[in-house]
């Protein structure tokens, strides 16, 4: 979604004092011995990062909320004896009570059950979509940035075209024709269209790393291009890639929820966006059944908001300049 929701934080992440892997420590040391000393140093650096990450309140809070929702999605359905679409599971339109923790819908479906199943589906779609977008975007960015020349021009032209395209509207047409049948297809469609800013950001980072001595040295010693990208360039921007994935994850959640809200999601399943769609369509607002639409929306907001928060925290961890301690 578009680059959907990913862009607000994504853009600021890229423009503002983003983590600057190029200036990070391993660069200089690796010059002397690109293969020997690096692993030990990288290991120390990793544990140092972990040390700061586990002491950053934003990272802790953000990750806890995400993990809590993940556990809820995984385990929640086990605590329910109903199906997510099972009608007349309880009284019609009942407020939250000890029997029905989050109330019931107008047709007597259990909101708790729907929320648990919906959270599970949301995580599934978002993780798959983020992985696909990350793969496409990073591949494009690495290749364009490292190879340069004509290939760079072509790849960036493709990226810019998809960037200008109102992606969500295109995805609507594609899904309307395809008729999404399962979460994997939905994730694939989202992933295929939601990678542009990743490609541009990764390319920019790769361009600055490519000019480094240790990359030249690796190239001189005959290391293959793929290995250079994998072992010399990618590790030096690992922090950036992690943050990219988190933003893609948050963006995919909103993207999928919006598709589901337009009833373009997988048939027969349950998701947070679909709950909102059903609540809106069956006029939960005028019926006053607030629990029907407040909980799923709050879940989406909490997950995406926590992802943004984690990202800000990680920015501080990876970029010592931003640390407040």
């Amino acid at each position: 979604m578009t680059d959907m929701k990913s862009s607000p934080a994504g853009r600021s992440g890229a423009a503002a004092p983003a983590p600057d892997p190029a200036s990070a420590a391993p660069g200089q040391t690796a010059t002397t011995d690109p293969l020997g000393a690096a692993p030990a140093l990288a290991g120390r650096r990793r544990s140092e990062m972990l040390y700061f990450a586990l002491r950053n309140p934003k990272v802790i809070l953000g990750l806890s909320v995400i993990v809590a929702f993940l556990l809820f999605g995984l385990l929640g359905p086990l605590f329910s004896e109903f199906g997510p679409r099972e009608r007349n599971a309880g009284p019609l339109g009942a407020a939250p009570s000890s029997d029905f923790w989050l109330g019931t819908t107008w047709t007597g479906q259990d909101v708790f059950t729907q929320l648990a199943h919906g959270t599970r589906a949301t995580f599934q779609v978002a993780l798959m979509a983020a992985a696909i977008s990350a793969f496409i975007g990073m591949t494009m960015g690495f290749v364009a940035g490292y190879r340069g020349g004509r290939l760079d021009e072509i790849l960036m032209m493709i990226t810019n075209i998809v960037l200008v395209l109102p992606v969500f509207v295109v995805v609507i047409v594609v899904t309307a024709y395809l008729g999404i049948s399962n979460t994997a297809t939905q994730a694939l469609v989202i992933g295929l269209f939601n990678w542009t800013w990743v490609a541009r950001a990764v390319r920019a980072q790769t361009l600055s790393l490519r000019a480094r001595d240790f990359v030249d040295l690796a190239r001189l010693s005959g290391v293959r291009t793929l290995s250079i990208i994998r072992r010399e360039i990618a590790p030096n921007m690992a922090s950036y890639l992690v943050m990219t994935f988190i933003l893609l994850f948050a963006g995919a959640i909103v993207f999928a929820a919006t598709l589901d809200f337009l009833n373009l999601g997988p048939r027969g399943g349950m998701s947070l966006g679909l709950m909102l769609q059903q609540a809106n369509q069956q006029a939960a607002m005028s019926l006053g059944l607030w629990w029907w639409f407040v909980f799923p929306g709050a879940a989406i907001t909490a997950i995406t908001g926590s992802a943004y928060l984690t990202n800000v925290g990680l920015d501080e961890v990876f970029n010592p300049k931003l640390r407040e301690m």
Binding site: M1, T2, D3, M4, K5, S7, P8, A9, R11, S12, A15, A16, P17, M157, N160, I161, L163, V164, L165, P166, V167, F168, V169, V170, I172, V173, V174, A176, Y177, L178, G179, W197, A250, V254, A257, T258, F261, L262, N263, G273, L276, A279, N280, M285, S286, G288, W290, F293, V294, P296, G297, A298, I300, T301, A302, T304, G305, Y308, L309, V312
Partner: protein, 333 residues
């Protein structure tokens, strides 16, 4: 400058080409046949009547000529005036162009104020928050909360709270059902009242993103060498902040172009929630009634609209950033 705009123009031309081609290809190469669906929905018993109906529709939608001819005709119909976007099946036999034109004013009335105001207010708010601890501690969390909120949820909450609980504003349609569109006080008043909640929903979500972006950018600029140097020279903080703000504006202008798609998406779902008769609601109707011609017409219209907006933003950028005019650096294409 010519080179900069020329490069942008090339990208937009290619984008239009890709969009039109995708739009044209989808119904022809995807599994499923909209015409057959339509014929079978008619429920004709007599196979000969069904065949005749199929032939009639294929002729009507120009599907009875070779495939390359269809493609050329498609382009030709777009460049004719008024553009021929086909005939809607959802409200047969009205032309798609008429339906889109009828919905467009409502969408623009929501989108343009929401985009411009959220951009302006968000930038001001973000710049104020930067480096003012107390303000930052409230503006930033609220902004993150807003930007994490899905458009449809905020819209639903506004319908429920502002429309149902408080009853301050009507929460469905663009004007009262008992009025007819005319130029009178009562109609315009009703229009304005119905506009408030959908506008707020679009405005608030977009606001958060702009405020965060501006805050980060201003902090970045305030830490840069020229700001430190100005400070060392004894320039008043007001002046430094002014320079920082102006430099931080540039990425925000580029961001405006990047955010168009997001706001558009927000507009679609907001219109669906508020039953607001713009392009978004039309799009939903096209989806639910599998009216592919209407769907394609809307998509094409949206793509062209986005491209025009992008071009306008590019021109503004050239005007604001002198580096693009002298062909130095500035915005990357």
């Amino acid at each position: 400058m010519g080179r900069y705009l020329g490069r942008k123009g090339l990208i937009y031309a290619l984008t239009l080409f890709v969009a039109v081609t995708i739009n044209w290809m989808l119904p022809r190469f995807m599994p499923g046949d909209p015409i057959s669906d339509m014929v079978s929905r008619a429920g004709l018993r007599d196979p000969e009547a069904a065949a005749r109906m199929q032939a009639y529709y294929e002729n009507l939608f120009g599907l009875d000529v070779p495939i390359w001819q269809q493609y050329l005709n498609y382009w030709g119909s777009l460049f004719s005036w008024p553009p021929d976007l086909g005939i809607s099946m959802w409200s047969f036999p009205r032309p798609v162009g008429d339906l889109v034109m009828g919905a467009l004013p409502y969408t623009l009335a929501l989108l343009i104020p929401a985009i411009l105001l959220s951009w302006y207010v968000g930038n001001k708010l973000g710049a104020l928050a930067a480096r003012r601890k107390a303000l930052d501690n409230t503006v930033l969390p609220v902004s993150y909360l807003l930007t994490a909120t899905p458009y449809m949820w905020l819209a639903i909450l506004l319908v429920w709270f502002g429309g149902m609980q408080l009853g301050w504003f009507p929460s469905s349609r663009a004007y009262s059902g008992n009025l007819v569109p005319e130029f009178s006080m009562s109609f315009i008043g009703s229009l304005a009242l119905h506009w408030v909640l959908p506008f707020l929903s679009l405005f608030l979500v977009a606001l958060g993103g702009w405020a965060i972006g501006m805050r980060n950018l201003v902090i970045y600029e305030l830490e840069s060498d020229y700001s430190n140097y100005l400070g060392a020279l004894g320039a008043p903080p007001r002046l430094i902040r002014k320079y920082a703000f102006r430099n931080a504006m540039l990425p925000q202008i580029t961001g405006l172009a990047l955010q168009l798609g997001v706001v558009l998406t927000g507009n679609i779902v907001t219109e669906v929630v508020f039953n607001y008769p713009g392009l978004g609601l039309l799009l939903l109707n096209a989806i639910t009634s599998t009216d592919f011609f209407l769907l394609q017409g809307i998509v094409l219209f949206v793509v062209i609209g986005v491209l025009i907006c992008n071009f306008v933003i590019d021109i503004v950028y050239v005007w604001v950033d002198p580096r693009t005019r002298t062909g130095l650096q500035g915005a990357s294409a």
